[in-house]
């Protein structure tokens, strides 16, 4: 007896925009590799229902100064390269990174207070050291962000880098820098669909092309609000697929930053022995955070630990394989 299975596929009207990072010599840049994300016409990895033309990618965080608050495990894993952003970026590329997420952390008033000149120099060095596209983050302090991101955007003119973070308080300057130098911006809002939408609308009002925006919806780590951020991302994606054009950008998540803030990953001090091997636990914490976010629509995952990179990439490869293929 044959049972007729009803077709439960959704027909979505919306489509995620394709955003390209990096530009090769043909487009005025110097990148050996470029990355395109987005383009989905269905929820994550539902290959039977729609198109998923581009696989999610892994970005690796590189800082312009050796971080003094990073877990011992990370410091050990990266070794001396931590002291030189160019070497760090090259090493990350060798370990499988698909994007370098350069953080101009030294510009922070309490962590060096470097300025535009140093930012340019760092960007120049890192561009030289890697063939990958760049994401460039400011130190997260609005005035300094404006100072160094504008300089970085100019220095990287033609390279189609992503500038972050573009937040409600400083989006105008970052967007202006992107407009003037043909870059992409990362629009970051605190875990709220409507705020994400509003920021995208405001950025759009400044006439930045819609396909030059990435959404960072703000995420949590495993055990630290991950489920809440998961459902916010899910709602962003559902809104996009049902046709809300203000939310149809690819999603970027800072899984590494979040996971390594969690006690479970960061430290082994005073934790129960049942928690098991620290090194293994920490990497799995990051990988689990990342893979969970992958399942709810993350297109770019910014990671920290070298060993997390292959784990997450393996998960992506598996999820991108169509059943029966």
């Amino acid at each position: 007896m044959s049972v007729a299975m009803p077709n439960v596929n959704e027909t979505w009207t919306g489509k995620i925009l394709e955003v390209t990072l990096g530009a090769g010599p043909d487009k005025g840049g110097t990148r050996g590799k470029t990355v395109t994300v987005g383009g989905e016409t269905t929820l994550p990895f539902l290959h039977f229902e729609g198109e998923i033309p581009n696989k999610p990618v892994v970005a690796v965080e590189v800082r312009d100064r050796a971080p003094d608050d990073w877990s011992e495990l990370l410091v050990k894993a990266w070794g001396d390269s931590l002291k030189d952003p160019a070497a760090w970026a090259a090493k990350a590329e060798g370990l499988g990174a698909e994007i370098i997420a350069l953080s101009l952390d030294s510009a922070h008033p309490e962590r060096g207070n470097t300025g535009a000149k140093e930012a340019r120099e760092t960007v120049r060095q890192v561009l030289k050291a890697t063939s990958l596209p760049l994401i460039i983050y400011g130190p997260g302090q609005p005035d300094k962000d404006n100072e160094v991101l504008v300089a970085a955007a100019e220095e990287a003119a033609g390279e189609r880098v992503a500038l972050g973070n573009c937040e409600e308080k400083n989006y105008r300057t970052v967007v202006a820098a992107a407009l003037a130098n043909n870059q992409v911006v990362i629009a970051k809002t605190p875990i709220d669909v409507n705020l994400a939408k509003q920021l995208n609308v405001l950025i759009g009002d400044m006439r930045l092309d819609r396909d030059r925006i990435l959404i960072d919806p703000t995420t949590g780590a495993l055990g630290y609000g991950l489920e809440y951020t998961y459902s916010v991302m899910e709602r962003v994606r559902l809104a996009a697929l049902t046709g809300d054009s203000a939310l149809q950008q690819p999603l970027i998540v800072t899984a590494g930053y979040e996971a390594w803030r969690a006690k479970e990953a960061r430290t082994n001090d005073g934790v129960p022995t049942q928690w098991g091997d620290w090194a293994k636990r920490a990497v799995l914490w990051e990988a689990n955070t990342a893979v969970t976010l992958l399942e709810t629509g993350a297109d770019i995952l910014v990671l920290r630990h070298p060993e997390t990179i292959p784990l997450v990439k393996r998960a992506i490869a598996g999820l991108m394989t169509r059943a029966g293929a």
Binding site: R172, T173, L179, I191, Q198, R207
Partner: protein
């Protein structure tokens, strides 16, 4: 459009286009058509010509075509008997003027005559456009000429992100050197970029500033283009390139480029001294960009808005500006320029001697710590905000009329009235109470200051500590001035505060304030759902209640109590992409239940297809959803044929068998639950309070805290309902906490709900 201006502009345009044609022809004959023409260090060719025509002019031959284009834009002068509006012709003449002047500068560049030599003028900052040019003066001094692309980007970013509000193109020479310096300083204070050009009888503002030792150049944000009117074209070249660089446009997208400038670049032209035909023609060119022109001489004005956001041409004869000296007159002139272009003032800090921030809002000042109080039981205080015309107040004027509190003994009281006057093109009388109510939060933000109440029951205490640090009555005005600009800058242009402690003046203004409060009450009472075209949404809470939308009407405020219809309207003006959006009512589907096509559609879309239909006046049928922030919960008590209303502040058990917190779990979360609804407490007073289900008379039980808090208002409602003793017939937690207790109470007091139609 003024015929006088139109004629002058068209005359000027004809003249200058003719001159450009001659110059270009002469240059072609002399140098050859293939001689390159270019402004230095720009990738935008001749930017104004590129923007208007899409032509990429790189040599004299191509320049000839651009001038021919300009010529085609010229019109005949309006004849004496022609009374048509000649706006179009004038704007075309303006555009032709711009193309012609740029062509002239291009020829001058080709001949090595630009930037203009000005002996003694040495610019600060790197001037990429001004390498040692052949024509430099004896000492190599020269004007800047066009702004290079690198500087354009640096300033452009600041223009786009709002740090730099705009630019002023000053043309001519000021009344005096003192006036010249003051005008420029006033503009600098506001972060406005200053471009200088033109002259009056050979004397330019550039000369005036040189004589006064004012440094010019990129570093000081003062850029001297040249001493003739023609060099003012560089200002519009800058504007055009801004649109091309930051607006993502390309040459020839004329309309887009002009609109970009109108809405995003807050620039204006300031004509100092006599305005000749060429200046009129150039002004007409600037108006194409939406840049208004302000003249300090007597010229005809063009007041209606249209191409520019507000007035097109304003005349403000310098000598007639009130003021003791040219510095003061200059300040007023610049202030007027700001208004005409709609440039907003940004204030980031509250300039008072005590710390300021929302962290201090909850502070209480005890009697023992108090230096002085205004209002309370021993004195009286009021606050009153009103809107006035833009020319009726001076922005930033803060005045105390009457004595300070020095003579008041420690811990004593005095009467004080705060009168805030605001003016703004987007200000509406309806917003007065919305703004006035913020006084409470703003004043409370100061450390050591406590504010209670509103209107004429205001009560302010200053602590000893705050007074020791130097806090004075005037500082109250400083707070209000700063916060009004910071929070409501989108609708306000000017704010002035007067604080009255003089007893006679106090009484006089108290009477005026009370009159206004009364008028507002009446106005509010008149404002009904039927009298307006739009409701407002509030989606502020979707961060945690994703499928909830508040539909806010004049007669039903938001369930949190924080947003009424006017608040939403003001909020939308301030933040047009924010959580309060207008909802056009559309067709009324059911006047009794309060169902409109517009509110249904909005709810459906913004609850993500969860809520299809919503009523504004019923708890039984498609009631409005709730996020969780409600002040009260209304719940149907079937046995009593009525509803009970529980306040958030009431912890006791209710006849529904649940406390507020248990009920809240059921009522919130964006679900439609017939028979249960979260509401703002003032909705209880509305004529539309569950009017489809019988209205206020359905209330059989109400938390006593509500009865106390709104005693007078509720009494009024009972009278309106024709049952003055109704409130006594409504049970509360003191008389009934179960249905078994409730029913006998209602019987005993003959509550009207018992005799009403069944609620189901």
């Amino acid at each position: 459009m003024s015929r006088y201006i139109a004629k002058a502009a068209i005359r000027g345009a004809n003249l200058i286009v003719g001159e450009a044609e001659q110059m270009v022809e002469a240059a072609v004959a002399e140098l050859g058509a293939s001689t390159p023409v270019a402004f230095t260090n720009t990738a935008y060719h001749l930017p104004v010509i590129l923007g208007f025509t899409g032509m990429e002019v790189d040599n004299l031959g191509e320049l000839r075509e651009a001038v021919a284009y300009a010529k085609r834009l010229l019109n005949a002068m309006p004849g004496e008997s022609l009374w048509l509006p000649y706006l179009g012709e004038t704007l075309d003449a303006g555009a032709a003027t711009l193309l012609a002047t740029e062509a002239i500068e291009a020829v001058r560049f080709a001949r090595g005559l630009q930037p203009e030599p000005i002996p003694g003028l040495h610019l600060t900052g790197t001037s990429f456009t001004s390498p040692d040019n052949n024509g430099g003066g004896a000492d190599g001094g020269h004007a800047n000429g066009p702004i290079d692309d690198i500087q354009l980007r640096a300033w452009g970013i600041q223009l786009v992100d709002g740090r730099m509000p705009g630019f002023a193109a000053i043309i001519g020479a000021a009344r005096s050197n003192e006036a010249a310096v003051s005008i420029v300083r006033e503009l600098q204070k506001r972060n406005i970029l200053v471009f200088l050009s033109g002259n009056v009888n050979g004397r330019s503002i550039i000369h005036q500033l040189m004589e006064e030792g004012v440094e010019m150049g990129y570093d000081t944000y003062i850029v001297p283009f040249g001493t003739d009117t023609i060099s003012a074209i560089y200002a519009l070249g800058f504007a055009t390139r801004s649109a091309l660089t930051f607006g993502g446009m390309s040459g020839g997208q004329t309309r887009d480029i002009l609109l970009y400038n109108k809405y995003r670049v807050f620039a204006f032209a300031l004509a100092l001294g006599e305005v000749d035909d060429l200046k009129y023609a150039a002004a007409a060119g600037a108006i194409n960009y939406g840049f208004p022109v302000i003249a300090d001489t007597l010229i005809p004005q063009i007041l209606p808005s249209g191409i520019t956001s507000y007035e097109h041409v304003i005349s403000m004869p310098f000598d007639d500006i009130p003021g003791d000296n040219d510095t003061e007159r200059a300040r007023r002139l610049v202030q007027r320029c700001m208004e005409v272009r709609g440039v907003k003032i940004k204030i980031t800090d509250v300039p008072i001697p005590v710390p300021y921030g929302s962290a201090f809002e909850g502070e209480r000042i005890r009697k023992a710590d108090m230096r002085v109080e205004f209002g309370g039981s021993k004195a009286q205080a009021f606050e009153y905000l009103r809107s006035v015309g833009l020319d009726e107040i001076e922005d930033g004027k803060i005045e105390v009329v009457g004595p300070g509190f020095d003579d008041v003994p420690e811990g004593g009281a005095m009467s004080l009235g705060i009168v805030v006057e605001v003016a703004g093109r987007k200000m509406q009388e309806d917003f007065e109470p919305v703004l006035e109510r913020q006084t409470h939060y703003w004043v409370n933000g100061a450390s050591g200051i406590q504010h209670i109440g509103q209107r004429d029951i205001t009560w302010i205490r200053l602590s000893k500590a705050a007074v020791d640090k130097g806090f004075q009555i005037k500082n109250l005005g400083d707070i209000l001035y700063a916060r009004l600009h910071a929070d409501f800058g989108a609708i306000l242009d000017k704010v002035a505060v007067t604080i009255y402690t003089d007893p006679d003046k106090f009484q006089e203004w108290l009477a005026k304030a009370r009159e206004a409060y009364q008028a507002r009450n009446v106005r509010l009472a008149d404002m009904v759902d039927e009298s307006i075209e739009e409701f407002y949404s509030c989606t502020l809470c979707q961060s945690f209640a994703p499928n909830h939308v508040c539909v806010i009407s004049p007669e039903r405020l938001g369930l949190c109590g924080a947003y009424n219809w006017l608040d939403c309207k003001a909020s939308n003006q301030i933040n047009p992409t924010g959580p309060n959006q207008p909802i056009p009512k559309g067709i009324c589907l059911d006047p009794v239940f309060g169902v409109w096509q517009g509110s249904n559609e909005f709810a459906y879309q913004n609850t993500h297809q969860t809520v299809e239909r919503v009523t504004l006046y019923s708890i039984m049928q498609d009631p409005m959803t709730a996020c969780g922030c409600f002040e009260c919960i209304a719940v149907v008590i079937p046995e009593a044929n009525g509803v009970m209303v529980v306040s958030r502040e009431d912890p006791s058990m209710t006849p529904a068998g649940m406390t507020f917190s248990t009920l809240a779990g059921v009522a919130g979360g964006g679900l439609q639950t017939p028979g249960m609804m979260g509401v703002g407490k003032y909705y209880l007073l509305s004529r539309k309070f569950i009017s489809a289900d019988g209205g206020f008379k359905r209330i059989v039980w109400m938390s006593s805290v509500l009865k106390g808090m709104m005693a007078d208002e509720l009494k009024g409602v009972c009278e309106r309902e024709g049952d003055p003793d109704l409130l006594d017939k409504i049970a509360d937690e003191r008389s009934a906490t179960t249905v078994e207790e409730l029913l006998p109470f209602l019987e005993e007091h003959q509550h009207p709900a018992l005799a009403m139609d069944p609620i189901f």
